[in-house]
Amino acid sequence: MIQFAVYGKGGIGKSTTVSNISAALADAGLKVMQIGCDPKADSTSSLLGGRRAVTVIDLIQDRGRDSIELEDMVNIGYGGVVCVEAGGPTPGLGCAGRAITAALELLHDKGAYEKLAPDVIIYDVLGDVVCGGFSVPMRKGYAGTVFIVTSGENMSIHAAANIAVAVENFKNRGYARLGGIILNRRNVKNEQEKVLELANDVSTVLVGTLDRSEVVQDAEELGKTVIEAFPKSDMAEQYRGLMRSVMKACESEVD
């Protein structure tokens, strides 16, 4: 079983990227589980026909941990992708990091990984590693490899650098290693050079590049991934290429 996490600044396109990777992996015949670790809880909506899944935190709040079954927490999306949304607290109240921890603990307690036996688990994690909860997906027993999505925009690069520093700081703990950076183009000036400089600064590689394309927004309007909505498009091929690069980076870690 391969587990990797995708981090990056909010709004940079993590969920779109991750969902397309999940769909591409499913098309390749693998059983995939995608876990959204973002209070917005929209990581998996394009795999679910635009529908928002009930979050684990909502279930915990409504019914209590003891009466929740594994089946309640998962939704089956495109290509059989097992979709989970951790969810989060009311904006401005509560603790989003704690919500991630609680959701992942509950999945573990309910035997999700053993019972569902996915080939690949992808954690889609919000923004900076701002507290302990956001580092849980990169801990031992969870993701083995972390990828960071960024554009060439300064704020995005700043967030990516912070995440890379956190991964480096956790290296001695046996946590996930940094697998590389994914450039999601916003077509800013010198974008490729800036992101390559970042990769160089944090001693990693550019594992893939995605063009800015209206096809992505068109698919989103349809409540689908590009892989599902426009499988023959150039963007779909870019996502498949990224999927292969990411898996190669993860497999080298497994080896």
Binding site: G64, R65, D66, G97, I100, T101, G132, S135, R139, K140
Partner: protein, 443 residues
């Protein structure tokens, strides 16, 4: 449910007749009151049952007060240490380093290295998503000759999953290392108090040629580790059942749950289960029933028509006990409990049908702080019943008191007689925490 000071207390919430009581929760829950009857063991007492161990609590200083006082009161301060968490640890994100370095510092300063360390983390570790797994890995690397286990002082876990009591009893056996099973020994799991040696359960195990092991009787860590060689684990106390099952699953032992239910048919059923597990025969039930009847009627003759009150901290199945005593002529009038267990449901329905006026009282409802406590002629079974009745005639036991089977009932009848004939000073007897711990086998 806060009320203006000076208002007359509303005692209507403190009593409901069994005929009108709902199952399983006869009273509203909310703000909780704790009566000063403290004999039930807490996580500090129970953890101390691991011989040659040391407890380390890691939490904010304000939360440490209770556990520090417990350790001091039971005379176990030298087996107890604390690490205080401060705000800067939360802000600096060094909670995990504090845990590792704090425990390391304590162990380096102890004159004698303990064989095992029970580390109690707290709510704040939970809230902060601390990677305690990593901390234990590092501590095990630094102290390869010390066994560490994770324990919890985490009230936020109370309303879901296992209760703190169940969790503590489970963690108590987490230190047992897998060992070849010998088939010649049997464990009692999760009871804080040593099982009454005359009871049929103990006798049957011994007569089958096997050794009975209980953590309460273990004098050394090596002796404790021998519990891993037993083929059969028996849980008798309800809060011990989950831990016993987890242990059996981990070590591939057989598991039996044989609680002390003061009902003859239940006792027979349990003794048959035990006999099958021991591949022996159960004792002669009719003779034992006759002995139990005789003891109860003898006690009844002494107690007479005095009102009898029972609380759930004395015996886990207070409604079954009420039915048994009523059937032997006792004038049972009051039960103190906050909920009715599944195992007590049958007795509850029986009491509802046959003795609907029997009074039920909560023990944690806030209005119980002003409960009149003027039923001084009552014979109480249990500390809370004694406190709320204000009586000095009481059976001073907690957590089933090590009783089991017919001999448990016979022993209880003796205790009832003694309690009635020899009044005690309740204030002195019920205030110390952890009845049976200080000076007992856990030290």
């Amino acid at each position: 449910m806060l009320k203006r000071l000076g208002e007359k207390p509303d005692l209507t919430q403190t009593t409901v007749s069994v005929g009108e009581a709902s199952y399983p929760a006869p009273f509203e829950t909310g703000l909780e009151y704790a009566a000063p009857a403290r004999g039930v063991w807490n996580i500090v007492h129970t953890g101390m049952l691991v011989p040659e161990s040391h407890e380390i609590f890691i939490c904010a200083a304000g939360c440490l007060r209770g556990v520090v006082l417990t350790a001091a009161e039971m005379g176990a301060a030298e087996r107890f240490s604390t690490v205080a968490i401060r705000e800067n640890n939360v802000l600096d994100g060094d909670m995990e380093e504090l845990m590792i370095e704090g425990v390391t510092d304590i162990l380096n300063k102890l004159q004698r290295t303990p064989r095992a360390v029970l580390v109690y983390t707290s709510c704040i570790h939970h809230f902060m998503s601390c990677d305690v797994t990593r901390c234990y890995a590092e501590l095990r690397r630094r102290f390869p000759n010390v066994d560490f286990t994770d324990c919890y002082m985490d009230p936020i876990m109370r309303k879901s999953g296992l209760t703190p009591d169940q969790t503590m009893r489970s963690r108590l056996y987490s230190l047992l290392k897998p060992a070849p099973v010998d088939g010649m020994s049997v464990n009692i799991i999760g009871s804080d108090l040593q099982t009454y040696p005359d009871c049929e359960l103990v006798q049957m195990v011994q007569q089958s040629g096997r050794t009975l092991r209980e953590i309460t009787a273990c004098k050394s860590y090596d002796e404790y580790q021998l519990m891993a060689t037993s083929y059969l684990n028996i849980a008798m106390y309800p809060a011990a059942k989950a831990g016993c099952e987890a242990l059996c699953e981990r070590l591939a032992h057989r598991c039996l749950y044989l609680p002390f239910i003061p009902d003859y048919d239940d006792i027979d059923r349990e003794l048959e289960l035990l006999a099958a597990a021991l591949e022996t025969n159960p004792p002669d039930a009719s003779a034992l029933r006759a002995l139990a009847d005789e003891s109860l009627f003898k006690a009844r003759a002494i107690v007479g028509d005095a009102p009898v009150a029972i609380d759930y901290t004395a015996l886990s199945h207070p409604m079954e006990l009420a039915r048994l005593l009523i059937n032997h002529g006792f004038n049972v009038t009051d039960l103190f409990l906050d909920s009715i267990s599944t195992a007590d449901r049958d007795a509850f329905l029986w009491l509802k049908r046959n003795y609907p006026s029997l009074r039920l009282h909560p023990t944690i409802h806030p209005e119980m702080r002003v409960y009149p406590r003027d039923e001084r002629n009552t014979l109480a079974i249990g500390q809370k019943a004694a406190y709320f009745c204000g009586t000095c005639r009481f059976v001073n036991i907690v957590e089933d008191g090590g009783l089991h089977g017919y001999m448990g009932i016979i022993r209880l009848a003796e205790l009832i007689t003694d309690a009635f004939e020899n009044p005690k000073d309740a204030k002195i007897e019920i205030q110390p925490k952890g009845l049976g711990c200080a000076g007992g086998c856990c030290l």
